[in-house]
Symmetry: C2
Subunit: 221 residues, 2 copies
């Protein structure tokens, strides 16, 4: 009985996720789902990404949080068209919440949409939103054991960003151990190591984004 209910909810979510994807594709908006622990640097990466892409691409950001509109305000201040979803306690975004935000969002005015999920390394991975790529932002001070301890999230992602590499000299973080864990779960996953504070590694990330958006536009729908 209980399993049946879970399946029904997931399937309804997946149907709405497919609808979200079709809306995004109709508007030719390439879209990313940013997932991470609280404080790993999702919003900082969005700020840096928006300010570096502002001449090249028109950016939209939809932020998910339990409370406050701090993150959307930061994205807007950096130059994006931004909206905030307050989940009111829910620990993840789902396709329904994203759809409610997309209905009001000026998709015709943007090229790239970043959806910032709720800060949580577990539940967001269980709910498809309809975005094109899932991006996990890990951060150095979280520790090198995280892939082993949160396998579901690491397994399901398309892109891994290792943030806060400027803190490597000050914390215990064995990059080889971290990467072995990632490799076991998600072999060959595209990875960027960077610092939103110093800017180190940002160029490769921005290049990848611009290239991926161009490739996306060449897709037949």
């Amino acid at each position: 009985m209980r399993i049946a209910v879970v399946e029904k909810i997931l399937s309804a979510n997946d149907q709405l996720a497919a609808q979200n994807r079709s809306w995004l594709d109709k508007a030719r908006v390439f879209s990313l789902n940013f997932m991470a622990s609280p404080g790993a640097g999702k919003t900082s990466l969005i700020e840096q990404t928006v300010s570096r892409l502002t001449e090249k691409l028109r950016l939209g950001v939809i932020d998910g949080d339990i409370a406050t509109s701090f993150d959307a305000e930061r994205a807007q201040a950096a130059g994006a068209i931004a909206a905030q979803i307050n989940t009111g306690g829910d620990c993840h975004l789902d396709a329904v919440m994203l759809q409610e935000a997309l209905v009001e969002f000026p998709l015709a005015d943007i090229d790239l949409l970043i959806v910032e999920n709720v800060g949580n390394l577990i539940c967001p991975a269980n709910f498809r939103l309809g975005t094109h790529k899932s991006v996990l932002i890990a951060s150095v001070p979280e520790g090198d054991d995280k892939p082993y301890k949160y396998p579901g999230t690491y397994r399901g992602i398309d892109i891994l960003v290792i943030n806060k590499i400027d803190l490597l000299p000050y914390v215990k973080f064995d990059m080889a151990r971290f990467q072995r864990g990632v490799e076991a779960l998600n072999p060959g996953v595209k990875t960027f190591a960077l610092s939103c504070q110093t800017g180190e590694g940002m160029d490769a990330w921005i290049e990848w984004l611009v290239h991926s958006q161009q490739q996306y536009l060449k897709t037949e729908f």
Copy 2:
């Protein structure tokens, strides 16, 4: 209908939490529920606490994680009697899971039990376990906006530990802003600022623990 189901689940959880509490009180075991984001330093604080208390108190640790027994192994290596709960995907511990662990745990052989919840700043706060005190471990690199963005967890705790203060010189963290957020949600909450790496601030935390356990033993049950 949906609300009725939620109420029923919470109430069943609370009943089991009360039972857990009565088992702990019968064994005269003072108990803490450690909650935090992934990588805030729950396990490091447990290691440091166990190794500093080993002469004074007999410690037990029950670790909750989605996968691996890394944390219980670390607690055991530090000198505690340890058990691991693998939630198999669940993003929090609940009273049922703790009860299953308590059934097998040698409560007669310990004075203090630390339950390490799953790394998650949202859901664990919604499930009482039956422990005597809830402790939130925040960490400096997570950022000073966390009380504002995760009010439910900050509101419900008895003790706040601010970990990784050794990283204050290297990250943007406005302690006054952080503490204003805490104060608005949980006025006067007992707070410790410390570093598990350098040991700074650990003495006050250990003193509080020893004192609180002694006070607990004086309680009439």
